[in-house]
């Protein structure tokens, strides 16, 4: 998402002298972009404006719907449940994202290295989980996590060991991290692999003539070429982490006591609306999460590009 704005070409291409077919004001283009913009206004712009509007009001028993200024924001910023959920997704982001991107990077380099047997089979098979809906992924892993009749239970019985319950409160975040990692290693791997594929072959030839070994080539040629892809993967992962919803929400029925209604900010906003009918407060939470996500995505993007310079 944010990524789109990270990509420079929009500016570049626009500024490129490209002859428009008619120089005077011509509205023909609107016939093409118009339908998109109408739906866009309905499903994106209107809800954004509406949620900003909602966040400044409060529906009270006495007095009905009234303007309260920044009161909802004040409430959210001092809400321990909100901060607990933010803390949880931050931890998730800090631990899970580097692990996932690290594995994906390794896999991409391995597949690109030509040292792997059956590399195209690996590529497709590792990418496959991306096509699996989050619901199915979570159900599969959730069943496997079961200590009674799940795979974890089987392993415990079979080896007579005691793997800690993946759905217990101390492990559940890691278990969710595992599901998300499983879903997205392949996606990120393909992202990185695609970036490796467009490195001109002559660079490698020149490097090996100069006596560079494989690791040197990785460090000096491949990593710099990968940086933009890593930044993109990082930004998507930031957005994904802060929007965490599907996996904990579905696991909740398997682990009702360990996953609270405010496990992630997104779950909190959802439950405030749909169980608590607190629409105004829910919209406020959503806006704050959105702003924080945008800021962090922006930081990731900038730190990535700065290194490049």
């Amino acid at each position: 998402m944010t990524t789109l704005s990270t990509l420079p070409p929009s500016g570049q291409t626009l500024s490129k002298p490209r002859k428009p077919h008619v120089q005077k004001r011509d509205w023909t283009g609107w016939k093409f972009i118009g339908p998109f913009m109408i739906v866009f206004a309905l499903v994106l712009i209107a809800p954004v404006l509406y949620s900003i509007y909602l966040s400044f009001f409060k529906d009270q028993l006495v007095g009905g719907n009234s303007f309260v200024g920044f009161e909802n924001y004040g409430q959210a910023l001092t809400d321990p449940k909100f901060w607990e959920s933010m803390g949880r997704v931050t931890l998730f982001f800090v631990v899970q994202v580097p692990i996932m991107l690290g594995i994906a990077l390794f896999a991409a380099l391995a597949i690109d290295s030509a040292r792997l047997h059956l590399s195209s089979f690996f590529r497709i098979a590792i990418f496959l989980p991306y096509a699996v809906p989050a619901v199915v992924a979570t159900l599969m892993w959730g069943f496997m996590y079961g200590t009674k009749f799940g795979l974890v239970g089987n392993l415990n019985d079979f080896f007579n060991i005691a793997i800690p319950d993946p759905l217990s409160s101390s492990w559940v975040l890691a278990s969710i991290g595992n599901i998300v990692t499983w879903e997205f290693i392949g996606y990120n791997m393909i992202l990185f692999y695609a970036a490796l594929r467009v490195i001109p072959t002559d660079l490698y030839e020149a490097a090996s003539l100069d006596g560079a070994n494989a690791f040197r080539i990785i460090r000096s040629i491949k990593m710099p070429a990968l940086r933009p892809a890593i930044v993109i993967g990082g930004i998507f992962s930031v957005i994904g982490s802060f929007q965490l919803f599907n996996e904990p929400s579905i696991l909740q029925s398997l682990a009702p006591n360990t996953i609270s209604t405010y496990f992630s900010p997104n779950m909190y906003a959802y439950n405030l609306s749909f169980s608590g009918q607190q629409y105004n407060y829910s919209a406020t939470i959503a806006i704050i999460v959105g702003l924080i996500t945008a800021v962090i995505a922006y930081i990731v993007q900038n730190s990535g590009s700065r290194k490049e310079a």
């Binding site: 789109l4 690109d112 690996f122 619901v135 695609a194 599907n246 398997l254 906003a269």
Partner: protein
Amino acid sequence: MSTTDQTLAPAEKAKAPRMSRYTSEKKAGKSNQGLHTKKSIILTVIMGALLIYSLLPLFWLFVNSTKTQAELLNSFGLWFSGPNALWDNIVATLSYNDGVFVRWFGNTLLYVVVGAGGATFLAALGGYGLAKFNFPGKKAVFAVVLGAVAIPGTALAVPTFLMFSQMGLTNTPWAVILPSLISPFGLYLIWTYALDAVPTEVLEAARMDGSGEFRTFFTISLKLLAPGLVTVLLFTLVATWNNYFLPLIMLSEPTWYPLTVGLNQWNQQAQTVGGDVIYNLVITGSLLTIVPIVVAFLFLQRYWQSGLAAGSVKA
């Protein structure tokens, strides 16, 4: 990470960067660094572990969809046990509750065909318009689309629901389809693709011959845009097939559920005390849910890769 969240679309769709205009050429013939490297067994073994990790849950799902409810609870998860009940499970899944699963399957198809198809069409029209025409407000369009794309789906879900409910759209297919129609990533992809793929000279020639803009678009430009369209279609297809959060919010009647929401409802039902224990149906239903998308994915994955390619390069 729950980019997974097929929330309110954009996250997903934007997931992939832009399409390569030249990947295809570059790709041809370049198998690797062009050096003669020895295959490494150690590397193959390490990657083998990753492969097992990736495929293990899918294998588990298949194995367990062949078991009866009783065997499911009493046998080792990673191997077959008892009589092969796959067929019985499939029949039971399809007929449970007056065949509601079939209904969900149909709903999913509807959302995918209209949602993903419509999203691709709107993106094609719009992206082409942006690439090939100059018009008043073009810069504003870019600014608004790119800006709005940075807003996480979370911020939109609840207000969209409230708005739709005031418009009487909730609990209708439109509530799921309308938000799926917007793919800012798709728009972006087609725009970058059309800049090069559709030569302005061709359009000039068509104009000289008196062809209207839309006729030119449908008879000439769409063909030239085909590879870009396929990539956009694939991304929107997976996104709509896997969509969960949006229909969960918008729909309260099981008759309009897509497969994802329906499956989770079965799962919750199985967890409830006194609820019908239908784990075998949840598992077999999961298998039936992923088969079509996995098949489509395997057939079309090569397009994805070329679609994904240059984004990372250009970024």
